[in-house]
Amino acid sequence: MTKVASSRWRAFRAAAFYVTATLLVAVWLLPLVIGVFTSLKSMDEIMANPVMWKPPKALRFENFGEAWNRAGMGRYIVNTFIVTIPSVAGALAVSSLAAFALAFYRFRLNKAVLVLFVAGMLVPFQMLMIPVFRMSNGLGIDDSFGGLILFHISFQLGFCTFFLRNFMKQIPYSQIEAPRIDGASDFTIYARIIMPLALPSIAALAVLEFTWIWNDLLWSLVLLRSDAIKTVTLGLANMQGEFITTYNLTAAGSILAAIAPVAVFLAFQRYFIEGLTMGADKG
């Protein structure tokens, strides 16, 4: 192949990439574009011109205020933060203990405990629903933030432990040897040496867990009843019924509900994508 031909070939390949990639992303995100457009339209415009992919003629930002106040999205979003932040922090803190034990100690049941955590994270939620609902009732923590947070922390231990343990396994043992000889206790090694080294994987995991717990519908459905403590997914599902004819408000509410996970994803996307691949790759 001559030089000219090969550079043309390279240009063609680049053009093919950008055309295909742009088209693909545009088509794939069309539903989200429709959601954004709808959230900014007035109901009059939606009724008069029901072509969903047309941009709004006038931007009606009031929809967001109405969704926040009148439809109660503001409170649902606050509730979701109240559930999500302690759940993520708790799951990371508790699972890091288990991950440390499984990564650095040799003991007979090491593999068995690992399998228990891994298998548990894949069990269908339906298998846990009735017993967890019943136990929460029995302990008097049903219909409360605490009961939901406690469940989220416990259930997410499976994935978090597996994920963090795989990362910790890659930390060179020499990092532990020196402080041990200096007489540091096992807990000091965990808290002062290993946790700081595991920070990148903890960050990745935090991003993953934040979106998962924020987006959870099923467990809010099972464990929460009072409207005052409902989370955003549940609130939106209610809104669909209540504001059935005001699509623009429902769309605005959906976008408000999406801001936190999307912002976390965009801000930490490097961690997020690495996190998913790390977790998946190792198991």
């Binding site: 989200l32 269908p124 499976g158 769309a251």
Partner: protein, 295 residues
């Protein structure tokens, strides 16, 4: 290497494991066994004091048309939720794999649907599927395919397909991520060549790239199978479990237990769902243990 691991005291690992293991056992492991037990109890008796009901719940399942419909729908979910996202996710991953300027932005944008909850996604897709003014039918009519502009969520024949399409739309980006990880070990030129190089691209793809991607494929397939058997949110949000024609095991279990207060029957459905999933959980755990022994 293992010989140099910490081993001061036999109790040390258990001191670290005590809290996580206790929480996990109480909230996850014990409930699995409880559900098995509840499957043999009468209606809502577990709330007031379990009444043994023998195999009655399972006998009822065998003759319950709604249950078999849920199984059939789950099978459809499984086939399409694996069959479409896995090859499509691989293709997209191969496209975005090269380090071309901007490819990270494409990856980020393509991944966005995965960060949104099914409540949001379901809401938007319900408008898209709206028979009168939904984007899908507007589009079909505008290109003269009026005959295809059907009641996507109102007609028993199309309902499950319409829901699966939404699930597939959200799953493709996830599979893409799994394959992007797998492709890290494959030379970029090789990947791009097999995408657009006319000569013998299929041979190269099949003989060189696919074998290298086998570990990623095992993960993508088992995760997709397990997720397909767990699908609940889309069905709940887009039908509110009232459209019984679209019911899957997960939603049928939920409606039986929490809408009709038949906890015994709901547990029996959960047990069946669990036993089907168990096969694939074992495959996944086996894969994890295999990788461990290779370490």
């Amino acid at each position: 290497m293992p010989a140099r691991r910490l081993k001061k005291s036999a109790l040390a690992p258990w001191a670290f494991l005590a809290l996580p293991l206790a929480m996990y056992v109480v909230w996850v492991i014990v409930p699995i066994f409880e559900s098995f037990a509840f499957a043999f109890t009468k209606r809502d008796s577990i709330i007031y004091g379990p009444v043994f009901h023998g195999l009655a719940n399972f006998r009822r399942l065998a003759g319950d048309g709604q249950f078999w419909l849920a199984i059939k729908n789950n099978l459809l979910w499984l086939v399409f939720f694996v069959g479409i996202p896995v090859p499509l996710g691989l293709l997209v991953a191969m496209l975005f794999n090269g380090g071309r300027p901007g490819s990270r932005l494409y990856k980020t944008l393509f991944y966005l649907p995965m960060t949104l909850s099914f409540t949001i996604i379901g809401t938007i897709w319900m408008w898209i599927y709206n028979p009168d003014f939904g984007a899908l039918n507007t589009f079909l009519r505008s290109i003269g395919l009026d005959a295809l502009a059907v009641q996507w969520l109102g007609d028993k024949r199309y309902m499950t397909g319409a829901l699966i399409a939404v699930g597939v739309w959200r799953q493709v980006p996830y599979v893409m991520i799994l394959y992007l990880a797998g492709l890290q070990g494959v030379p970029t030129e090789l990947v791009e060549a097999s995408l657009i190089d006319g000569a013998s691209w299929w041979q190269r793809f099949r003989k060189v790239i696919l074998p290298l991607l086998l570990p990623a494929t095992i993960v993508a397939v088992t995760i997709s199978v397990i997720d397909s058997l767990r699908s609940f949110d889309i069905v709940y949000v887009m039908t509110n479990t009232k459209a019984r024609a679209a019911e899957v095991l997960a939603s049928y279990m939920y409606s039986s237990a929490f809408q009709y207060a038949d906890f015994g029957y709901g547990s029996a459905i959960a047990v069946i769902q669990f036993l089907i999933t168990l096969v694939f959980i074992l495959v996944y755990v086996g894969d994890v243990l295999k990788k461990e022994s290779e370490r």
